[in-house]
């Protein structure tokens, strides 16, 4: 018995040591948790050089993956960059800190009015827009002769094995809902089941399900059609001139990805410095040019020249039926999870 106690004590001590490890190290730092492939690495270096604050940078692939990691972390993150509907959910759950906008003067000065006070954060207390964009179809003009102006192209057996679907719950299900003339935020179980069946029906036509890898595949000509965010389309088109981007007539999603500070962040002031830095026109422009996503800042776009007027990144949004994702109630969210698991388990 004594032996067992000793073992227990030792292992507890070991676990405590492991838990303390991330707290080590000296000096100022800020822990940024962002999407994969979603920042110009030079910008991080510039921030570190100007402020002397060390940036610890981590990445995720989808809003849902970020949420799970955030919920199970021990206040490890200082800046996160989720999308609109995820911000709405985090605000509802009390998971975000109010930003002290006195420390973020560049927000007031440089971010365009139409990107302030969005529906998911109506008083603009918790979020600062990082980029925005649309969801659409990236296609290879050499292989797809007609402009894919309908989501129906993903169900066209002519393109069997040439289609890349997005391995992201809301985007894939939302696309199927839009195709059926429903809302992106459908809660009706019947409509969701129909969307599920639509996607299962499409699965044999898909060459693969990806998030970040879609760029390499499309640039390399591994597939002809893909469901992508406009920002990724901008990057792909810059690398392969045969590619083009289309927004289907059934309408699509418009999204904002905004910088937020999670509740209990250990380096809140540094987080605000980082957010402010990212709103500076020169930094916004440099970053937007690198990642391809659309900047919410006119002063930045002016610095970007032609890239600031690219219709893929900056479409005339009055021409399309664009809808935001909104946060789902718990029951519907679970239903989304259920049908998503069924979709991804079928082939």
């Amino acid at each position: 018995m004594k032996k067992l106690k000793g073992i227990l004590f030792f292992s507890l001590a070991l676990m405590m040591m492991i838990a303390l490890l991330p707290g080590c190290g000296s000096g100022e730092k800020v822990v940024v948790y962002n999407w994969g492939d979603y920042i110009d690495p030079d910008v991080i270096d510039m921030f570190e050089e100007e402020t002397g604050i060390e940036v610890v940078y981590e990445m995720y692939e989808t809003n849902e993956a970020m949420y799970t990691k955030l919920k199970n972390s021990n206040n490890n993150y200082d800046v996160i960059i989720p999308s609109d509907y995820m911000i709405e959910r985090l605000i509802k759950e009390g998971e975000l800190e109010e930003i002290n906008f006195k420390n973020v003067p560049n927000f007031e000065a440089n971010i365009d009015k139409e990107y302030k006070n969005p529906a998911f954060d109506p008083e603009n207390k918790y979020s600062v827009p990082y980029t925005w964009g649309t969801l659409g179809i990236l296609y290879n003009t050499k292989k797809v002769k007609e402009t894919p102006d309908s989501w129906g192209v993903f169900w066209n057996s002519k393109y069997k094995g040439r289609i890349i679907m997005m391995n992201s719950q809301r985007d894939a299900i939302g696309m199927a809902l839009k195709y059926m003339g429903k809302s992106l935020n459908e809660t009706d179980r019947g409509a969701l089941d129909a969307a599920k069946n639509k996607l299962i029906e499409m699965t044999p036509l898909a060459s693969g399900w990806y998030v970040d890898e879609v760029k390499d595949k499309m640039i390399g000509g591994e597939a002809d059609l893909a469901l992508v965010y406009a920002g990724d389309a901008v990057y792909c088109i810059s690398q392969n001139k045969d590619l083009a981007y289309a927004i289907p007539k059934e309408g699509t999603n418009i999204f904002y990805d905004s910088m937020c500070i999670p509740k209990g962040a250990k380096n809140k002031e540094n987080a605000e410095k980082f957010i402010d830095f990212m709103c500076r026109p020169d930094i916004q422009a440099k970053n937007a040019e690198y990642i391809g996503y659309s900047s919410p800042s006119t002063p930045a776009r002016e610095l970007m020249g032609d890239a600031g007027k690219d219709p893929t990144a900056y479409p005339d949004i009055t021409k399309y039926d664009l809808e935001f994702f909104s946060a789902l109630d718990d029951g519907t969210k679970e239903y989304y999870n259920k049908i998503w698991t069924e979709i991804r388990s079928s082939r």
């Binding site: 292992s11 799970t68 898909a206 693969g208 591994e222 999870n337 698991t341 991804r344």
Partner: protein
């Protein structure tokens, strides 16, 4: 007393990295709403058995793991046999070359296969040059099995090789002297002697290839959902730990049962399998 002290690291390791995580998985599998009232529930298991698609995913994983293991035995046994029998000075070079890829990270090795197998990849380009291409090998069962075999083959060769090293040459000589032809010597002496090695190899190849998820997500193009993908998604994306835990337990139970039967068929004659 000294022996007990030496064993402490092993006990601690087992406790912290095997028993505690296992307990956590089991706890979440049987608890609904862990952040709320945390009551006992079998919903995770009910979900698993309520839709045949999940059992299908498990069966697909078992099938792929079974084929990969079989191919590993067919390729690995002769390799281990000739290595063990060989007196060549270059034997250790061959062994090093075989183990060399294992020093590279598993994910990098798996990703590298993409550049070989995809439509614009090396193999397809060569085939196109010869007038057969282009061929896209990714997103097929073949690709998943091929890369599983590649990743796990050394784990089959090494235990068989080590078992065969212990085989005393005099046994073989004696059998030959008593009139057994080489085939008979092999089937009557060498093969039975090496069964424990094969069983260890099977355990080290079959179990990880049932639960792999990186391989199906890369060369399988993410459209080849295996049980590992399903579990990973429940924990990392959907955050349904109850369902994830339930799938893990069902998978563990099936694999343990299979390993038990594989080991039992042999236990009458030999000992030394990894689960005995």
């Amino acid at each position: 007393m000294k022996k007990t002290i030496c064993m402490i690291p092993l006990y601690v390791w087992t406790l912290v990295f095997i028993l505690v995580p296992l307990a956590i998985v089991i706890y979440y599998a049987f608890i609904s709403d862990p952040h709320g009232d945390a009551s006992f529930s079998l919903d995770g298991f009910r979900d698993f058995f309520s839709n045949p698609v999940f059992a299908e995913v498990l069966l697909r994983s078992l099938k792929i793991a079974f084929i990969s293991t079989l191919v590993c035995i067919l390729l690995g046994y002769p390799a281990a046999y000739f290595l063990a029998r060989s007196k060549s000075r270059f034997k250790f070079v061959v062994i090093i070359l075989m183990l060399l890829p294992m020093w590279i990270n598993f994910l990098i090795r798996t990703y590298s296969w993409l550049s070989l197998l995809e439509k614009t990849g090396l193999i397809s380009t060569l085939l196109t040059y010869m007038g057969f291409g282009p061929v896209d090998f990714t997103g097929t069962e073949f690709a998943v099995i091929l890369v599983s075999v590649y990743d796990f083959l050394p784990f089959m060769i090494m235990p068989i090789y080590i078992t065969l090293l212990k085989l005393d040459q005099s046994h073989l000589d004696a059998a030959a002297d008593l009139g057994a032809n080489p085939a008979k010597v092999f089937f009557k002496i060498t093969l039975p002697f090496s069964v424990p090695g094969i069983l260890s190899g099977v355990a080290m190849v079959f179990v990880p290839s049932v639960t792999t998820f990186a391989i199906s997500q890369t060369v399988g193009n993410g459209k080849f959902p295996l049980i590992g993908d399903l579990i990973q998604e429940q924990y990392m994306v959907v955050s349904n730990w109850q369902f994830g835990g339930a799938i893990s337990i069902v998978t563990m139970a099936v694999v343990l049962l299979l390993m038990y039967f594989i080991n039992r068929t042999d236990s009458d004659e030999n000992g030394g399998g990894i689960l005995q």
